[in-house]
Symmetry: none
Subunit: 110 residues, 2 copies
DNA sequence: CTGTCTGGATAAGAACTGGTGAACGCCGCC
DNA sequence: GGCGGCGTTCACCAGTTCTTATCCAGACAG
């Protein structure tokens, strides 16, 4: 195995994540996430199956402290969900934990 | 053994790439790329279908770190595109990934 | 059931990125 | 010197993305 710095590709469920390309592929199809969107997605994916609190997400992506009543994270999550749904309608990846934050976990929508 | 560094000729889609001549032929016609232009084209071609980030392109061609707001890469891409389009109007080879970089992948423009 | 709070959805304006044409400077050559 | 190819930089503009505001549905407490 050619080692090298960061992993070239991460595979989870039906996803292929390429960090150094900022790309997420679903069964070969590109999801078309923007840079910000990928950041969010990737940071959640790295914490597979654990709930990440909203302020923590904010800090990791925007830096600094999350202003009260800020909705940036929500809007971003929505956009990521929308794009992923377009390429993988039968799956859901980001789950809401009310009053807390979000959790990444690929699941089939039965 | 085929020996020696890189292959003499690489063929992809309707392209014929000759690294040691710095030439790209499209169905027999020379594209007329300059040295710089060929460097860009070839480095992207070698990473077929993967997105290469702008700063990485810069580093590989110019060396050093890409200055903020630098447009060299863009302009070079444009020139390569222009020359390729002249010899292959029905094809597109270099695709833009907004906010990230460029990706090489020969495709017909239907 | 009612009131309050959180998150989903959408939209408008601001901010940013990349496409494009042209100008500029550098060299080698006529 | 004047010319032409090449590489770089500049400026303008269109298109994309981000931020923020608003309205609304769902969750939860009393």
């Amino acid at each position: 195995m050619p080692s090298t710095q960061s992993q070239r590709t991460v595979e989870i469920a039906n996803l292929e994540i390429r960090p150094d390309e900022l790309q997420v592929l679903v069964e070969g199809r590109r999801s078309g996430l923007t840079v910000r969107e990928f950041q969010l997605f990737f940071m959640l994916a790295q914490r597979l199956d654990s709930v990440v609190q909203r302020p923590q997400i904010y800090t990791e992506i925007w830096g600094g402290t999350m202003p009260r009543r800020d909705r940036s994270v929500d809007v971003l999550v929505r956009k990521v969900r929308a794009k992923l749904e377009q390429v993988a309608p039968e799956w859901s990846y980001i789950h809401t934990h009310f009053g807390i934050g979000y959790r990444f976990s690929p699941e089939r929508t039965s």
